[in-house]
Amino acid sequence: MIHKSLKQLSQALAAKEISSVELSTLFLDRIERLNPEINAFVTVDREKTLKMAAAADARIAAGSAGPLTGIPIAQKDIFCAEGWRTTCGSKILANFVAPYDATVIEKMHRDAGMVSLGKTNMDEFAMGSSNETSFFGPVKNPWDRARVPGGSSGGSAAAIAARLAPAATGTDTGGSIRQPAALCNLTGLKPTYGVVSRYGMIAYASSLDQGGPMGASAEDCALLLNTMAGFDPRDSTSLERPAEDYARDLDKPLAGLRIGLPKEFFGEGCDAAVMAAVQDAIAEYRRLGASTVEVSLPNSHLSVPAYYVIAPAEASSNLSRFDGVRYGYRAPDYGNLDDMYMKTRAQGFGDEVKRRIMIGAYVLSHGYYDAYYLQAQRIRRLIANDFVAAFESCDVILGPTSPTTAFKLGEKSADPVQMYLSDIYTIAVNLAGLPGMALPCGFAGGLPVGLQLIGNYFDEARLLNVAHRYQQATDWHQRRPEGIE
């Protein structure tokens, strides 16, 4: 049961082979048993979960169930959920119980009737690529528990990989869905900026943040995206477009598909074994009828530096509200107001968060704004233009998701720049606002390798189709870590 796809679970629930309460209990029991080691969840509330499951069962019994009603899911702890502790992986919010639901939470639970298994661990305020910056401790990669699951949605990725949840939500600002998906042998989708509402999703870098699904397959992601996406009047950057069925094109043949291979993604900087797996995937796509064409993203080498100006700039401002005045952590002893601010934030934030706040404050400050922030915005436009040009000769762009497989816990945490380079292939997609996917395409040294697909704006359905056909022809995504039965 724990390895079933969302579609199979839906059928099992509809056929009364299992109830949502039974299914949820199955996963809750697994969490109880395995989470102490994996540390994928930071908050679990059996009572709340089972109450939701019982409500879902009532809906199923009443015949008013939707396709995902009763299916349990893990929520990244960046989404505010009413009555649930919502920490964003930070000490400063360790005691914060959200009084309202994020739009994504509302859509998945209230509207679609899914059941929340709890809140998953993450890098603090989604700042990190290894899940090691969490106040709640690192997450272990189920494929090798001495290694990181990737980040920032590392808890979600590990939860699915260890089958503590059938699927999960993630958010992706510079690769935070795709990189952990790649490192944990999962499928993850970062939608076009504006497709999934950001309301109630705690902001890291507002112009880059985008929520999305993580699961075992493209099909699961398509079903999840159907519940997550849609215009939200409470988010001014949400896009007003007609609703679409992201699963509609899953089975479309790939004959005639033009795959663009950016030469910048196939040069130096990528592990040879990772590259070999990506090359095998390209060969598979050719067998499936696709053609490949070389494209160029000439400014992609500027994406990491531009990102590390824009994202910290926005973060430095977004995180100003965590000041100890109204909610969250406040330093126990302080003198005057400034002292309260300084102690609260010094004690409440971890090192990586403080590093990015300082970088952000610096690049926005008087005299540096033009040289850093405005310059980075110009680069951002150039990067987006590169993609527009590339998509003139191809339908999707393909490359590696991450230059390496999962690295060891502690291996890069002392060297921020090495850590930042882990997102070298994913960041440009966020800067351009495009949809991107990661999906399993093989193994290197026993560790999963993730393929990345990048689509044109609003081409989620096509990306899912391209991923799904590959998953019909391969079984990489069905491989399981040792000990997860």
Binding site: I202, S207, S236, S320
Partner: protein, 484 residues
């Protein structure tokens, strides 16, 4: 003082008269219990996002159109970052590089009577922003309380060029702006409640010098009197400093109404670096031609247009026209009066509104909205002056009677109190004859060339007529009889 020129620019925060806040759905009503009008967005809970209130934008468009400014087809909201407990997000959403309104002018009348002159003040810009909450420092036993009801209230910050040259000009500008924002319905103008507050940038320079002196900014002046007092004090202080050989340092100061002095709040060195950048949570504000056209079509006739009409069509002086357009209430009162009394009586209507009505309002200390005499009553009264039913002097009595509610109309008061003017020549002639007979001494003095004696005789006749005789007829008849 005489060799110094004063230079003043004014920044005004006008609270916009919207139902809800600029970026949330919470109410903007004044006076509610602390923190009862602050929703998740106003509290800056994690994850919340701003959504722009289009009503606030319309207020800005109205203002831009009313002052002949450029309403920007695209403007941008920016974050102004600083920490303060009553600023929940740690930044204020404002506009920096691309404001919604650019340029524009406000014409105003400075001074009174013969010394009055017209002045045009140029505006630099007006931009939309949100207000902060309030810190309460009393009743919390050494701690501070925070009330976020005001947080997120929409403001239009209106900035002038350094065009004003005296505190009188500054006050005249502030009054004209205050009247205008109320006129076009974008701000209730309630200064006690903080709906309209001014900051004055003040500097002095030797007359004839082209460069401006160093300015100091006086913050948060919430009455016209404080505006004038603060500027006057500040100007004198700056002149003294310079004359004693000290340099003015750029600074922000506060005015203490009790001492009448300005006090340094922070120097330029302590100025914040606000780290402005475009707010990524809000798209650029796009105002298209259709939106502008609709707002334009809904604008009332503006003070300037009304002034021109009062001068051109009603033959009023520029000064009178300016006085009568000082507020929409005054101009409406005046126009309703003219509607009853007739356009031929526009000038007397103007005088009655500006002198008698204004005086009476002043005496009772009430606003024109609370006038006890309606424009219809006053128009009816002026009609009776025009048709010689009563004299101007009797009219003042009738006005007072109307004010005290002794009658519903001028006609009723005249009838009830028997104030109808005596215009019957025979009746007046017999009164004149009686007075001449009884005042031989005055008659003799007049005939000896003492003009004053004539006035005494007129007074006697009017007294005998209990003030009701037509003054012109009394004059004519007396002259005629004395010449006999």
């Amino acid at each position: 003082m005489n060799q110094w020129e004063v230079v003043i620019g004014i920044e005004t925060h006008a609270q916009l008269a919207t139902v809800s806040k600029i970026f949330s759905g919470a109410s903007t009503a004044f006076g509610a219990e602390p923190n009862t009008q602050a929703c998740a967005v106003d509290l800056a809970l994690p994850g919340v996002l701003p959504v722009l209130n289009r009503q606030a934008v319309e207020c800005a468009i109205r203002f831009g159109l009313a002052i002949g400014a450029h309403v920007a087809p695209k403007s941008v909201f920016a974050r102004k970052n600083y920490f303060y407990p009553d600023l929940p997000k740690g930044y204020q959403i404002s506009q920096m590089d691309l404001p919604v309104v650019v340029g524009g002018q406000i014409a105003l009348q400075v001074g009174q009577g013969d010394k009055a002159y017209e002045k045009v003040v140029n505006l630099t810009r007006a931009h939309l922003e949100e207000d902060a909450g309030k810190s309460l420092h009393e009743d919390f036993h050494g701690k501070s309380g925070i009330d976020l009801n005001r947080a997120g209230t929409p403001l239009l910050e209106i900035v002038t060029e350094p065009d004003m040259r005296s505190s009188d000009e500054a006050v005249a500008y502030a009054r004209a702006l205050h009247a205008l924002v109320r006129w076009i319905g974008i701000c209730d103008g309630n200064m006690q409640e903080g709906s309209f507050r001014c900051d004055a940038n003040v500097s002095v320079r030797p007359k004839g010098q082209a460069e401006f002196g160093t300015r100091r900014e006086i913050k948060n002046l919430n009455s016209f009197r404080f505006l004038k007092e603060a500027i006057d004090f500040e100007v004198q202080w700056q002149i003294n400093e310079i004359e004693e050989g000290r340099k003015i340092q750029q600074a922000t100061v506060l005015f203490d109404p009790d001492s009448g002095e300005t006090r340094m709040m922070r120097s330029k060195e302590d100025a914040h670096d606000y780290r402005y950048f475009p707010d990524p949570d809000l798209l650029p504000l796009i105002i298209d031609e259709a939106w502008m056209a609709r707002v334009r079509s809904e604008l009332p006739e503006l003070p300037q247009q009304k002034r021109e009409r009062f001068v051109g069509e009603l033959g009023l002086s520029v000064y009178d026209a300016a006085m009568l357009t000082a507020s929409q209430e005054i101009s409406e009162y005046f126009e309703s009066t003219v509607a009853v009394a007739g356009e031929a009586s526009a000038k007397p209507c103007a005088n009655w509104v500006m002198v008698d009505l204004a005086g009476r309002l002043n005496k009772d200390g009430v606003d024109i909205a609370a006038a006890a005499v309606s424009p219809q009553q006053l128009g009816g009264l002026i009609l009776r002056i025009a048709d010689n039913t009563i004299s101007n002097n009797i009219a003042k009595k009738v006005f007072e009677a109307l004010w005290l509610g002794e009658g519903a109309t001028a006609d009723e008061v005249i009838e009830k109190q028997g104030l109808k003017q005596i215009t019957d020549s025979a009746a007046i002639e017999s009164l004149v004859d009686e007075v001449l007979a009884a005042n031989a001494a005055n008659v003799a003095e007049f005939k000896a060339g003492k003009e004053k004696a004539f006035n005494a005789l007129v007074g006697q006749v009017m007294k005998a007529a209990k003030g009701k005789a037509n003054p012109q007829q009394v004059n004519d008849l007396l002259k005629k009889k004395l010449a006999e």
